[in-house]
């Protein structure tokens, strides 16, 4: 148990490390990447509750193939960026963030897994499901935001 605000409370898990300030319009490029990402999620049926059930019942290789090949491509990309010190478009050095272990990864991970099998969605697919017309998933998303808020509220009392 910890009773003080740990310094990592103020650090984002998926941070923006770009030093140069970006205008509102420059953010549209992340919207475009998000659009492509959403299309892949729908076309590969990753947003499907049924596909997630298939995965957890070990009755299809599809989701394992998706996640596995995504990780391999991600690993090779990160290795290449580090090996050749590839710079960002604005010429900055790419920042990587080591993750420090804490018990939250176990407790939180287990809770998220339970929720994943109920909702059939991790956070990314939640957004794509809503776009696909499953409007009721807005309720799931709002509840996920509420869950995040309650975590922030209880954070100092939870084991990490």
């Amino acid at each position: 148990m910890q009773n003080t605000v740990s310094p990592d409370a103020l650090v984002c898990d998926a941070p923006n490390d770009m030093k140069k300030a970006e205008s509102g319009l420059a953010n549209l490029k992340y919207l475009v990447v998000g659009v492509l990402f959403g299309i892949v999620f729908v076309k590969a049926e990753i947003i499907s509750w049924f596909r997630i059930q298939e995965m957890f019942r070990l009755q299809s290789f599809h989701m394992y193939g998706v996640i596995g090949s995504a990780v391999v491509v991600g690993m090779v990309s990160v290795w290449l960026i580090k090996r050749f010190d590839i710079k960002t478009l604005s010429g900055e050095r790419v920042e990587f963030h080591p993750k420090t272990f804490n018990k939250g990864q176990i407790y939180g991970g287990l809770l998220f897994g339970l929720g994943w099998a109920i909702t059939g969605a991790c956070p990314g697919p939640l957004f794509a499901q809503i776009g696909s017309g499953y409007v009721v998933v807005i309720a799931t998303l709002l509840s996920a935001v509420a869950g995040t808020w309650v975590y922030g509220y209880l954070r100092e009392k939870l084991p990490h």
Binding site: C12, V33, F37, F56, Q59, G113, V137, T140, T148
Partner: protein, 190 residues
């Protein structure tokens, strides 16, 4: 076969997985951004209801790219569903169909079971379990874990971070536990 007909069909894992993996270097190289989606939920809290909670006291505007990204994901979901619709019926493994039928699922026509994900269920016990309780676990769990399938399983593992491997294994254990040990009991409630 025309290209458009080809991309209307469901995409195999070896096309979708690498494309998702490429999100990692794309975000890093276009703007020095680490991939992670559940952070968007935290930014929404920080932007809408920070309530003096230290965890929500940070410059969320600097992280607004993440909200643009998820807005794009909603739009991508819309575009794929309306303009690249799969002309064929949804295919699910026969074993999964049999097991889910035994649990009381009857409609296998769409990507989501209409028996559960229907607005008519919103204010019912089913809605409470599948939307409210399920969504809460996703939001609370990912933040406690410090990331979700994107931040840990894809970004974290790509960067060879062993805590992300621990988190990913726990995601899977939680999912197997719900599917095999809890869901059968939950489905009896309805």
């Amino acid at each position: 076969m025309e290209f458009i007909d080809l991309i209307r069909k469901p995409w195999p894992w070896y096309v979708a997985g690498p494309l998702i993996g490429l999100t990692v270097p794309t975000l890093l190289l276009i703007g020095n951004k680490s991939f992670g989606i559940s952070s968007s939920l935290r930014h929404l809290c920080a932007a809408c209801l920070p309530a003096n909670i230290p965890f929500f006291q940070y410059n969320w505007k600097k992280e607004i790219w993440n909200l643009f990204f998820v807005a794009g994901t909603v739009l991508g979901g819309f575009l794929a569903t309306h303009f690249l619709e799969n002309p064929d019926a949804f295919q699910l493994s026969a074993a999964t169909v049999t097991e889910l039928k035994a649990l009381g699922i009857r409609d296998f026509s769409g990507l989501m079971p209409a028996d559960l994900f229907d607005t008519a269920n919103l204010f019912t016990l089913k809605g409470l379990v599948f939307f409210v309780f399920g969504g809460f676990l996703v939001g609370f769990g990912t933040r406690w874990a410090g990331g979700c399938t994107s931040g840990h399983a894809i970004m974290g593992l790509s960067n060879l971070q062993w805590p992300s491997l621990v988190a990913t294994c726990c995601f899977m254990v939680g999912g197997f536990t719900m599917t095999h040990l809890i869901l059968p009991h939950l489905m009896k409630l309805f």
